[in-house]
């Protein structure tokens, strides 16, 4: 299939599996272990789309599709800037 990326496919499967395990742990484990698993789940769910965008941007850059590679980089900058401002308590 055109554009098939086996590494990306595998990565998405692993991250989806990790999110499932961590979310189940967050729902089942009481107290601090549950909250830690929940925080890890949140990190996976926030991070997975960004990893995907970074990966496809990298593939496009290597293939010479600079315009879309730059758009992927810009997208990451937007999301990470929002996260950084919120983490710093600015917004």
């Amino acid at each position: 299939m055109r554009g098939q990326d086996s590494l990306l496919l595998r990565l998405l499967q692993v991250l989806a599996g990790a999110a499932l395990v961590l979310s189940a742990a967050a729902a089942v484990l009481p107290g601090t272990p549950g909250r830690v698993a929940g925080a890890a789940m949140l990190a996976v769910l926030v991070g997975a789309p960004l990893v995907r965008v970074a990966r496809i941007g990298w593939v496009w850059a290597r293939a010479g599709d600079r315009r879309h590679a730059l758009l992927a980089a810009l997208l990451l900058v937007i999301v990470l800037t929002g996260a950084a401002l919120a983490a710093a308590g600015v917004v």
């Binding site: 989806a16 979310s23 949140l42 769910l45 995907r52 496809i56 758009l71 919120a86 917004v91």
Partner: protein, 277 residues
């Protein structure tokens, strides 16, 4: 805490149902989940992150399967997400300040308009081209064009009206950040009706992009301390299982009934939201 209002098993069950329905039509399911949770007594500011958690979970669980089909147009997704993610970050920042009644009315009217637009269109816009029957399905490198495999051969398409599409996507992102819905119910009709992307490609691409939009808003919500991760765990378990089931069926469904079903769903949601407001 959300768990002060609802037991974890109930949260998981609601997440399962809405993610399964949502994945069929490129919806994240949160457009159903958030109003349901609020009706059940959850604070809208706490329900919004749960909505986006189930959106992110459904998008992630469907990701690999939909990538294999060649229906996801990643260049179109990334291009439109630049606008949508910007809107989502802005919406998440503004959400604690926005009047809930005004937000609900905007949401309801938008869903009704998108549903009516989908119902008004007839037939299939992109016809199969016999010379392309042997072509592989997927996006065409460097462009916002591509093809997908239909019953009568490979069907080429080209995304149109990009500036208008970007404007609509930024609005979808803003609503996602403000209310906690994924915005798929706006993104899929925007791609099909405004940008002339086939409904199956639009639905699969929306499933990818709503995950990015959710990520952008959730990152801000997390910084604001609004994410209940234990309730989130319950809703995500349901969302992952429901999203996988919906994605497994999505590619086997015919385009026109999917579009009509999606439109009917949008009309119902719009009416419900307006009645609630």
């Amino acid at each position: 805490m959300v768990t002060d209002v609802l037991p974890l098993w109930a949260i998981a069950l609601v997440g399962l149902g809405v993610a399964g329905v949502g994945a069929l039509g490129g919806l994240g399911g949160a457009v159903l989940l958030v109003p349901l949770l609020v009706l059940l007594g959850v604070d809208p500011l706490l329900a919004a992150p749960l909505g986006l958690l189930t959106v992110a979970a459904g998008s992630l669980s469907a990701g690999a399967a939909q990538l294999r089909t060649g229906l996801v147009h990643q260049r179109l997704g990334v291009t439109t997400e630049v606008a949508a993610a910007g809107g989502a970050v802005l919406g998440a920042v503004l959400s604690p300040l926005a009047p809930p009644v005004l937000l609900a009315r905007i949401l309801g009217v938008t869903a009704l308009v998108a549903g009516l637009a989908g119902l008004a269109r007839r037939g299939v816009r992109n016809r199969p081209l016999p010379p392309f029957v042997a072509e592989e399905a997927g996006e065409w490198p460097g462009t916002l064009a591509g093809s997908y495999r239909g019953p009568a051969g490979s069907v080429p398409y080209q995304a149109r009206r990009l500036p208008a599409g970007l404007a609509a996507m930024s609005g979808a992102g803003l609503i996602a950040g403000l209310t906690g819905v994924g915005g798929g119910f706006l993104k899929t009709p925007t791609m099909t009706e405004l940008m002339h992307v086939p409904v199956k490609v639009a639905a699969a691409t929306s499933t990818f992009t709503i995950g990015v939009t959710a990520s952008a808003a959730l990152a801000v919500f997390a910084g604001q301390g609004r994410v209940d991760v234990v309730a989130g765990g319950a809703v995500v378990v349901g969302g992952l299982l429901g999203g996988a089931a919906g994605a497994a069926v999505q590619d086997r469904l015919p385009a026109v009934p999917v579009r009509l079903g999606l439109s009917a769903l949008l009309l119902g949601i719009g009416a419900l939201v307006l009645v609630r407001a």
